[in-house]
């Protein structure tokens, strides 16, 4: 338990992806079965154990210590799991000489019934040290919140051999904790686990961004073009009564879209884009957001923002794996198959007609719907392969929007950038003429070169007007300040931000040392972009 606890402690404070991968891979390499497998399951969210409510935790601890002192402690720390892990009274003399292993903890929690969960938890907490207590509480309260996605954990596992992460994703839903067969294969001790379960995930084919010079070498007649829809890439897989709706990285998101999942009643695997609205009236990105990041969805939301799938490809039909066929043939099979499906939940991604690249350029720049973010190019003869091969598929995105904003706050970065002010909050003007003020509209921490970073850092240090911890407030008014050209992919309405807008994928595209702050953009310019 202590090694798992230390891993969690390190992960939560390690900002860089590579640092996290290293910590995870080292852990999986050095810890034996079945502990490492349960750790993996805990991180990917595949571990099911008796859940404990925060109120029960609080009751347990205040039975054991003065509630007033607990109150002081909790006020200071602010996090219940952490507070309880720290204040839990233990008698050093009574501590067992054996700290339970992660698998022992999991076994005890899985065996606990609803009525004795409380007792089991208390005994586990009695037997562990501070870090281990914290890890146990995180396990039972659900959600580790350590800034590690299931995808990243799978990547770390893949790095053991190494193999491509898509191989892990493909197997994943046929495996169960503690994944001993998976680790044995990755360590070369046994063969690759069989694809045992039904309706498994097929690793997704992705596209390279197209650059202008690519087109000189490409023949328009070799490619089909489709709109690039900015929804969620999904894979609907159904086999022998098992229905799954996978995200691009192979996580099952069926629970969040029961309305769509209910209609996956065929024997096939489809690749497509999840959108909201209906095939005849596609909703906007803001509509889509109503369905994202929800654990459960009310019938009202489902009715108001129904989910449907715009299909790109057919990977499997009945017993036949179609992935090796050329796109032209798969498409023909898809067109025929889609006619058999519920037309309110499935439609076909239409082609964009073109003869010359210039025609397509025109369509790309003027898409017919706000949720289109460009066009996709697919070679007529391309098989469906996992990953991002260069050549068969290209994505050609619409040019980003840009806005001239004023730098307002700068925050120190992490790791390599810990001595640089590298995260920038910027704002645009609002309010009546003569009484303009800046409202923050976004935050960006990339898009500039190392040299530019040094220049901005110096500017921030020389023009600081206030400091709050790692954040500096920078002089920004009608007379002085630094104008940043910010590029972004789109805007959402936001009730969380004072400006009422939230940018998608903002980055610094140019430093406008030359531009007077008074000439930066106004909030109305952004509001006009809201769909």
């Amino acid at each position: 338990m202590n090694r798992f606890a230390e891993l969690l402690d390190r992960l939560v404070l390690t900002p860089s992806r590579n640092g996290k991968l290293k910590l995870l891979t080292d852990y999986f390499r050095s810890v034996e079965d079945p502990d490492r497998g349960y750790a993996l399951a805990a991180i990917t969210g595949d571990l099911s154990i008796a859940a404990v409510k925060p109120a029960m935790l609080r009751a347990l601890v205040t039975e054991r210590m003065d509630p007033v002192l607990f109150g002081f402690a909790y006020d200071y720390v602010g996090d219940l799991a952490e507070t309880v892990s720290l204040v839990w009274p233990t008698d050093p003399a009574a501590l067992p000489n054996h700290v339970p292993t992660l698998s022992e903890v999991v076994a005890k929690l899985q065996a606990a019934s609803r009525s004795d969960a409380r007792q089991v938890l208390a005994r586990l907490l009695d037997s562990a040290g501070i870090s281990a207590r914290f890890a146990i509480i995180k396990l039972v309260t659900g959600g580790l919140r350590i800034g590690v996605s299931a995808r990243l954990a799978k990547q770390a596992v893949a790095d053991l051999r190494p193999v491509d992460v898509s191989e892990i994703e493909e197997l994943w839903h046929g495996l169960t904790p503690p994944y001993s067969a998976l680790f044995a294969w990755l360590e070369g001790k046994s063969g690759k686990p069989e694809r045992a379960a039904k309706a498994l995930f097929r690793p997704v084919m992705l596209a390279h961004p197209a650059e202008d010079r690519d087109f000189e070498k490409l023949e328009p007649a070799d490619y089909a073009a489709e709109w690039k829809w900015d929804g969620i890439r999904v894979q609907a897989a159904s086999e022998g009564g098992v229905r799954r709706l996978y995200s691009r990285t192979g996580e099952d998101v069926a629970g969040a879209f029961p309305d769509l999942t209910d209609t996956i009643d065929f024997e096939a695997v489809l690749d497509g884009e999840l959108l909201v609205g209906s095939p005849g009236a596609t909703g906007t990105f803001s509509d889509l957001q109503q369905r994202l990041n929800r654990k459960s969805v009310s019938p009202k939301i489902q009715a108001q923002y129904p989910a449907f799938m715009r299909c790109y490809d057919l990977l499997q039909l009945g017993d036949e794996d179609l992935r090796a066929l050329p796109f032209r043939e798969r498409r023909a099979r898809l067109e025929a198959f889609i006619k058999t499906l519920d037309p309110t939940r499935f439609d076909l991604s239409p082609f964009v007609e073109f003869t010359h690249w210039a025609d397509l350029e025109k369509s790309r720049s003027n898409p017919p719907h706000p949720i289109i973010e460009g066009v996709m190019l697919k070679r007529w003869d391309s098989p469906y392969v996992a990953g991002r091969p260069k050549g068969p598929w290209f994505k050609w995105k619409r040019d980003p929007h840009t806005v001239d904003a004023v730098l307002m706050y700068a925050q120190r970065g992490h790791g390599k950038r810990s001595s640089f002010y590298s995260d920038y909050t910027f704002g645009v003007w609002s309010g009546p003429e003569g009484a303009e003020e800046l409202v923050p509209v976004g935050k960006a921490y990339f898009g500039f070169t190392d040299e530019e970073l040094k220049q901005i850092d110096k500017y921030v240090r020389d023009n600081t007007i206030e400091r709050f911890g790692p954040v500096r407030s920078v002089r920004a008014d009608r007379v002085a300040g630094l104008v940043l050209e910010v590029a972004f992919e789109g805007l959402n309405r936001s009730t969380r931000h004072k400006s009422g807008v939230a940018m998608r994928f903002p980055r610094i595209s140019r430093l406008r040392w030359d531009k007077p702050t008074a000439e930066a953009d106004r909030i109305e310019t952004l509001q006009a972009l809201l769909d």
């Binding site: 002081f72 720390v77 720290l86 790791g415």
Partner: protein, 342 residues
């Protein structure tokens, strides 16, 4: 409450704007502004200020003050030997090790059969760089309360050093920057690293050179210390190195000379994750020179004091604990003292 003594404790020691004052003895303990006669518990700058007319402190504390402020840090100074009684205007005072930093002492003040111990800052965990805390039985114990919440439970410092060394092994291409208070904590970390078998040079920030040298001169072996300057080499030389500097320097341009640094901070505050996270600390090292909750409790019990005065820190929680223990306790509001590593 009635006292069996001929005087009330507040007649022997009381709080004045300059600090803790003894009216019959006419002296201050750790005054924050210049006074005629100052008794000083230890060399941290919020306790040991310059400009007093006369100073009474341990030899080491006087040396440290001279290093920090120059030889003329006070009109006159007198070294107090540990355990020896010195009489000031009829009040008996004696110095006893506090285990906080090199030279740190508690000051016992005795008059008319009443003993008050002003502990200054103290800890009970073993520290190879200073004398261990000694329990001094007393009637009134003045305790610090920097970490006086039941959430503060310091692990053995050796375990934290082991964590640091594991990380150095795991990330050999990065340098580990350890933030540590220049007096005491830094040298303790160095010594702990040596005790753990780390024998490579430790790179240090210029601000801790003099103090570390002083520790070495007092027989505390810190091994080979090198200035963390680039003049002597290139950035790559610091790959895999341990660099110790005052925490504030890590956000300075100074830190840029190190390759992809892992920022570490040696402090009792690192017990709280959010605290580490806010400070951008990647590897918190829970190493403190102040007692944790359990140490404070055990110390209060061991002194046998019936009355506890609680100062600088989270007085509220410790006063509550004393009340639950049936002890008289009150917060003693002294101004001008800093938290560890703030």
């Amino acid at each position: 409450m009635t006292y069996p003594y001929t005087m009330r404790p507040s007649e022997l020691l009381c709080s004045r704007p300059q600090g803790l004052y003894c009216p019959p003895g006419d002296f201050f303990i750790d005054p924050v502004s210049p006074v005629d006669r100052a008794l000083i518990t230890h060399g941290h700058s919020d306790h040991a200020r310059s400009g007093h007319r006369s100073v009474l402190a341990t030899r080491e504390t006087l040396d440290i003050m001279a290093l920090r402020y120059g030889a003329d840090f006070a009109g006159s100074s007198q070294a107090a030997r540990l355990g020896e009684t010195i009489t000031l205007n009829g009040v008996a005072v004696s110095f006893h090790p506090a285990g906080h930093v090199l030279g740190s002492a508690q000051i016992a003040v005795k008059h008319n059969g009443l003993t008050i111990v002003a502990s200054g800052d103290y800890k009970r965990q073993a520290d190879p760089t200073c004398a261990a805390f000694e329990v001094v039985p007393c009637d009134v114990f003045i305790t610090e309360a920097t970490f006086a919440l039941p959430v503060f439970r310091h692990p053995p410092a050796e375990d934290e050093i082991a964590k640091l060394l594991r990380s150095v092994q795991q990330f050999p291409e990065r340098s580990h920057l350890v933030g540590a208070y220049a007096l005491g904590k830094a040298q303790r970390v160095m010594r702990l690293l040596r005790d753990a078998g780390y024998d490579k040079p430790i790179y240090i920030h210029g601000a801790m050179a003099k103090i570390s040298e002083y520790y070495q001169s007092q027989g505390i072996d810190l091994g080979q210390l090198e200035p963390a300057t680039v003049e002597t080499g290139t950035k790559a030389d610091f790959a895999g190195a341990i660099v110790i500097g005052p925490p504030s320097t890590f956000s300075d341009r100074w830190a840029r000379r190190f390759p992809d640094p892992v920022s570490c901070f040696a402090s009792g505050w690192m017990r709280i994750r959010q605290r580490a996270k806010q400070g951008g600390v990647e590897l918190p090292l829970i190493i403190s020179d102040h007692g944790d909750w359990d140490e404070l409790a055990v110390t209060i019990r061991e002194t046998g004091a019936r009355e506890i005065w609680v100062t600088h820190g989270r007085e509220e929680a410790l006063v509550r604990w004393c009340e639950l223990e049936g002890l008289t306790a009150k917060p003693l509001h002294l101004i001008g003292y800093e938290d560890e590593g703030q």
